[in-house]
Structures are given as structure tokens and as C-alpha cells.
Symmetry: C2
Subunit: 245 residues, 2 copies
């Protein structure tokens, strides 16, 4: 593995800029994770991959907006964020890459075998796939990915506007790298964060604790999270600031 770009020095609080990415000539592929659930960052436009196919873990922002699949050699995404229940992985792979599948791969991890058998080589997670199908129908019924993207932009926009309003809350990701799926922020102290989380939970706003590896707060607002929930959180944040600011 050659690391082409990293913002480790900045605690991953932003996506590398194009100038910071040094591609490896002759690389088999270039990998990126389109959204970072822990740090709350997201690629707003895809990184250049040169001549190599771009391979992306899109688990946490797949189907949050339209994407140009032609830009990718391979996309893989665990279902459990925007697609359906856990235990299913969506894979979109270019035929050129399928042809390069190694014969030494175990069958269950060989996408070529899966493709040749219409993704039914084995008995798969039928319930998960069924629910994923229902989710796809729901996405279509509400206007497709363009409509989903609009809603997601609006949902994230409301939360980031609240973060930026006074300085009581502090968004941890740089503005240009902000995720539309995971809105990460801090308060003035860890004690205040604990109080915030406790009172939010009591108010029915659960799951706001940041990932254990970074602390702070995190609002995960995947497709299934309703805009009314974002509105309720913004209300709560204002009231919390009023009484603790």
C-alpha cells in the first residue's frame, strides 16, 4: 500500500487537497473512502486516479446523492447506512476489473463468480436483499437520488448553520470537507459535552456521542433520518446554548 495523501497531521479534519495527493505511477488501483463517519469528512468531488481505476468504499454515503459510476472501477458499500440492514454489501464493478479476478480468491470473495451467477452463487442474505429492494423503491418514490441529495443538503445545511451561528458549538471538520452524513462537533469542555449528550438523550435525541476514538459529538443523519429530527436537534441545541451559554 502506498499512501497517496493523508491529513493525519491535522487529525484528519479535512480531505487532502489535489496538490497534496501524489499518485503512484503504475498503481493497480487508487482507493478512497468517500465519507469518513468518524471525523465527519466527505469528498465533495472525487480524487483524480490517473490511469489507475478508482476503487471506493462508499458505505456511508452511497445513494445520498447521484454519482457518476463511470468514474469508478469498483464501488463497494455495506448496506447498513443508506441501503438497508447490515449483512449485505453492494458492489458495482467494471467488467475490466472482473476479468482480472484472481483464481486464487476464495469463491465467496470472487466478484467474477458472483457476477457470472447473477449474485446468486450461494444462498445469500435474502431478508437483507429484500429490504434493500424496498429501500430502492422508496428512494424512487420520493423522486430518486436527486431528491434525496436535496434533502440531505438541506438537513446537513441546517445543522452546520447552527454550528456556525455563535461559536458555542464548534464543527470539527474544515468547511470544505464537511460530511453531509455525519456532522461532528465539540462544545467548550468534555463536561459540557457529557451534559449535552445526557440532556439530548433525555429529550429523545439519541446516539449523539462521537466515535469513541475521537470523542465529541456526532449527528449521523443518513437517508433514513427524517428532516424533522434535524429540526428537533437544532431546536434542542439552541435551547441548550441559551441555558448553558
Amino acid at each position: 500500500v502506498h499512501v497517496t495523501g493523508s491529513t493525519k497531521a491535522d487529525n484528519y479534519n479535512r480531505i487532502p487537497s489535489p496538490g497534496e495527493i501524489a499518485l503512484t505511477p503504475g498503481a493497480a488501483y487508487v482507493h478512497c473512502t468517500t465519507n469518513n463517519t468518524i471525523e465527519g469528512t466527505e469528498w465533495s468531488s472525487l480524487p483524480a486516479a490517473g490511469d489507475a481505476p478508482l476503487v471506493a468504499d462508499a458505505s456511508s454515503d452511497i445513494f445520498s446523492r447521484p454519482i457518476d459510476v463511470r468514474r469508478f472501477g469498483l464501488i463497494y458499500a455495506g448496506a447498513q447506512k443508506n441501503l438497508g440492514p447490515s449483512g449485505v454489501t453492494l458492489v458495482i464493478v467494471h467488467n475490466d476489473l472482473l476479468a482480472r479476478s484472481s483464481k486464487s480468491l476464495p469463491t465467496m470473495l470472487n466478484y467474477k463468480v458472483m457476477a457470472e451467477n447473477n449474485s446468486l452463487y450461494n444462498t445469500p442474505n435474502t431478508f437483507g436483499i429484500y429490504i434493500l429492494g424496498l429501500t430502492m423503491k422508496w428512494v424512487k418514490s420520493i423522486g430518486g437520488l436527486a431528491a434525496v441529495a436535496e434533502t440531505n443538503d438541506r438537513k446537513a445545511g441546517k445543522l452546520y448553520a447552527e454550528l456556525d451561528r455563535t461559536g458555542f458549538y464548534r464543527g470539527t471538520a474544515e468547511k470544505a470537507s464537511r460530511s453531509r452524513m455525519n456532522v461532528t462537533f465539540r462544545l467548550a469542555s468534555e463536561d459540557l459535552e457529557k451534559k449535552f449528550e445526557k440532556e439530548a438523550t433525555a429529550a429523545g435525541l439519541d446516539g449523539l456521542k462521537g466515535h469513541r476514538s475521537v470523542g465529541g459529538m456526532r449527528a449521523s443523519i443518513y437517508n433514513a433520518f427524517p428532516e424533522a429530527g434535524v429540526d428537533a436537534l437544532v431546536q434542542f441545541m439552541r435551547e441548550f446554548e441559551r441555558t448553558n451559554g
Copy 2:
């Protein structure tokens, strides 16, 4: 792969006898499938494995009766027969074999990694595991595997007694090799089998068509299939014989 024993010459209508099994000295393991869903055969007692660990695909009769796990090096079983919904695999593996896990295995197929992480290295099929847990509670609530085995013996016994009653139906597996999970049988002609299947389906007795690779009829009576369903099938078989015999 060294085939230690096969009944291919008899169309797999029986389990190899101990005298027909020639173990390979120094084999890494000996593999068997405890129940054959297609042919309707089942090992009534485990094959000898010599010094090698016995590895078993127990997908289609796991938890149909008590088993002595100490006899096995590794048991693997897809959930979709007796355990729960598809998309989960139960693995029981001896620590000695875990220690031999190859480092070149992809992580997702490395049981050592799974064991070290309490089967939670990745986000698994949570719904499937939850349902599997409910199934395990149900098994306990009805008296555990000893009670399950009694019911299964009785269910299969009723169907095999009907097959053996007059000769109108013909069980395809040799008696000593008969499966308690998949009862396979033929009628006098394929036309009669088609009629049987059609009328059975109309009577609410669905799924009786044999596997496409062998034809004939197959009654799959896994743990979840109620004894009342077996009774209804026996009733139907008698009536069908009366009007077509």
C-alpha cells in the same frame, strides 16, 4: 482433494459403509456433509476420521438432534435450514484448528480473526443473528435438542412408514441412510409425479418437487416444519393413492 468414499455408482442413494471409506494417511482433515438435501440421505453416525480432524458441513441437519461436538474439528452450517434466515453461518471450531489459520486468508474468511473479536470484527448480519437467537430460545423452550430430535424422528418416521406401506410410493434412499430432514420419493411415472405435485400444491402442500438435478418428490421437514403438516401430507398421500392407485 482425495475422495475417501463415494456411492456415486448407486446415484448417491446411500451413505458409504465404513468398509467403503479409505482414509488418506496424513490428511489435513476429513470432510463430510452430515445430511444430503438432494438425495435425502444422512449420516446416522459419524464417519471415522482417523488422526485427522473431522470437518462437517452440517447446514441441513444442525440442531435437528444433539451432536457430540468433541468429535469434530470444525462444524459449519448455513443458518437457512434449522437456525434462522439465510445470510448467517454458524461455525464451531476447535482451538487447535484456529491456531492453524493461514495469515494469507482474507480477513472476512479467517475464523481466527472472528474468534479473537467475539464474532464482531465487522458489522455482521444483525437481523439474522437476532432471529437465530430467537430460534435458539425457542429450541430451549420446547425442551432442547433432545425434544427436537424426538419430534424429528416421529415426523420422518410417519412419512417413511407411508412410503413403505404399499409400494405405491418408493423412497429413493436406502433405509439405513434415510434423512430425517429431506424425505425423497418417487411415484410410478413422471406423469403421476406431476399430478401428485399439482394436486398437493392445490391442497396447500407446497414445495414437494424434488431438486431439479434428480427429479421426483421431496418433503423437506426441517425443525420449523410442524408435525401437523406431516400428518396432512400423509393424509393427502393416502387419498392420492386411493384415487390413483
